[in-house]
Symmetry: C2
Subunit: 421 residues, 2 copies
Amino acid sequence: MYNKMNRTELEALHAILTEEYKAAKEKDLKLDMSRGKPNPRQLDFSDGMSGMPWGKEDYISSGGDVRNYGMLSGIPEARKLFADLFEVSPQNVIVGGNSSLNLMFDAVSRAYTKGIMGNTPWSKLDKVKFLCPVPGYDRHFAVTEYFGVEMINIPMNEEGPDMALVRERAESDEAVKGIWCVPKYSNPGGVTYSDRVVKEFAALSPRAADFRIFWDNAYYAHDIFAEDSLLNIITECEAAGKPDMVYEFASTAKITYAGGGVSVIIASEANIKDIEKSIFYQTISYDKVNQMRHARFLKNPENIREHMKRHASLLAPKFRAVLEGLDKNFAGLGIAGWTKPNGGYFISVDLTEGTAKETVRLCKEAGLALTGAGATFPYGRDPKDSNIRIAPTYPSPEELAAAIDLFCLCAKLAAVEKLLA
Amino acid sequence: MYNKMNRTELEALHAILTEEYKAAKEKDLKLDMSRGKPNPRQLDFSDGMSGMPWGKEDYISSGGDVRNYGMLSGIPEARKLFADLFEVSPQNVIVGGNSSLNLMFDAVSRAYTKGIMGNTPWSKLDKVKFLCPVPGYDRHFAVTEYFGVEMINIPMNEEGPDMALVRERAESDEAVKGIWCVPKYSNPGGVTYSDRVVKEFAALSPRAADFRIFWDNAYYAHDIFAEDSLLNIITECEAAGKPDMVYEFASTAKITYAGGGVSVIIASEANIKDIEKSIFYQTISYDKVNQMRHARFLKNPENIREHMKRHASLLAPKFRAVLEGLDKNFAGLGIAGWTKPNGGYFISVDLTEGTAKETVRLCKEAGLALTGAGATFPYGRDPKDSNIRIAPTYPSPEELAAAIDLFCLCAKLAAVEKLLA
């Protein structure tokens, strides 16, 4: 335990770590654990899609010719596929383009310019606030920051966001219009919301009529070591008499192609109608040929689960390399805690307060790129300067083992420097 | 000439036309000239794209793996293809998703929520106005209507919009923020803007610093009977010292697939940078696999022109059927004028004032669907109730001949009723 050491011991340790760091720097490493990016081998799993649709008959959806105009809310085959996967009805689903972030941005943009279901557009209000479970996904926070929304940190625990705080904020303040959630294998903690948390979400009575839970179910099918179970927020909200309180989002970015998948928004029929009214002005239709490609390739939920097992088999050794490295290097030192998710794309590490930025800086100087410290918080500001997101998917297990050793060395050095300061 | 007839003659004519109309109704026709929709045979011209990319090497763009994240502004191969086609530099081009309407909507939306290049967001202004050459494209007008923009009709003539009026409005009123243009084979008139008109656009000195020409070059490559020439608005504005005054848009919706093409926005580098700043928040990237598919399939401008000749060979007999039908039925009656475009997707007919709505109603009752009267004007209001858009691309030449006969009969009946009223 570093914090049990006296100054002399710490100084001796500092000298050793400094030597080790110098040696590491001399290795001229080029490592990257910064980006939640699929490895090309994962992309290869969807190569079967490249020749699709195969023949003329594959262009004919039950809704018409997918190559032509029409079917604004998506082709029936794709709506059904995602309805089956997320256990809702096809009329609860709009299938979009390749980016679910774009669907989320558009949802906030619509609320801002036109208002949700007849409510005052957010652009006409003095103040709009969003609840942001932290650590969270930087691109979510960036969307609300873009629209000038005030973001309020909500701590995450092992069951999900601190629901007492969510309730208090949402139920007391009409300016609170929404919350960003990644309910399964959260980015970056890998936390799956417990049944209790999901039920407490559905039981919310927000002060604002246009409060929406932005339920980004990005990793719904992305199990690695086990299958976390997650309650269906759509049916839970329905059962609680709040069918319109949630927008659910998902995509195939990490099922098929990050650069050429399809995305969905799932919501109550009243929400879907409200959204369609705006989409009509926004576009002619989304890319329906790609929707057909996906419907034909992914087929059904069972096949998607089989497909995801291939991803898992590639990702498991990578996550294991990171977790073992963290164990080996940090055990007993009292300077770091981390999550051990069953799936998803990230591992979240909490270092000694006030050392995250310095750790990232030291890593960078020694050739290891990490997600910027603070990125997992609104405005890029981690009040404790402690959280770091580890993204193990792109590098090889060997690269990850080397990267984690270097990361831990830098974190130790930063921790000792902090204690000596 | 109907307006030279006396009442007795008109009544006799009315009786004849009424009989003919009754007979036509009994044929139980099902005809449709309402939608600017490619015929499936046109879509077949791009079937070669269905098996693409063909192999792993086709996924590797010079900017990286198109299946993965990155390349927000489009893959270099697609940017170059469109840069070559529109005679600009790749850094003037952002390649988007399948819908150029979506790029236009997003451009207005950005101006509304964030402002263009540091100017006041339109949402913060009391009044925003757009100039709308009429007749024009209903989906353009719908976008500005969605954002509460006041639309001002600008008459079209055979050279393009009435530039004296454009100049007067744009140069006197700071609330005038833009103009919708379809500069080649305009929708619906098929007018290509003359060199003089394009140069007058480039020479504009709008009162508003954030005035933008929305140059929807939708039919740039869509020649049928001849190749109208159109000056390059980007280089013209550059030469006139107003490089930032224009956003140009285009897509492959009517080159490859209406439901699965790619779109582009073309503008000065300063504009592109301003747009990229927002797109960063909006999406992860556009569908780059589809961009690669298009870059490989369309290859270069020469090949696109060859490809478009196939479309032309299919469309020429259709346009001819409509034009011959109009000639045959309307010659010498003085109740209709129409355009004879060299390309594009539409023919525009101007009927006796106050008879367009009635003509559409009569057609509908006899089994012929037409674009709604008024659709070619902002707010759906044609002040003269005269203009009708004919869309000849989807039906066969035989269907079109029958449809035009019926259309002309209805127009004649409406004209006689009007004269008798």
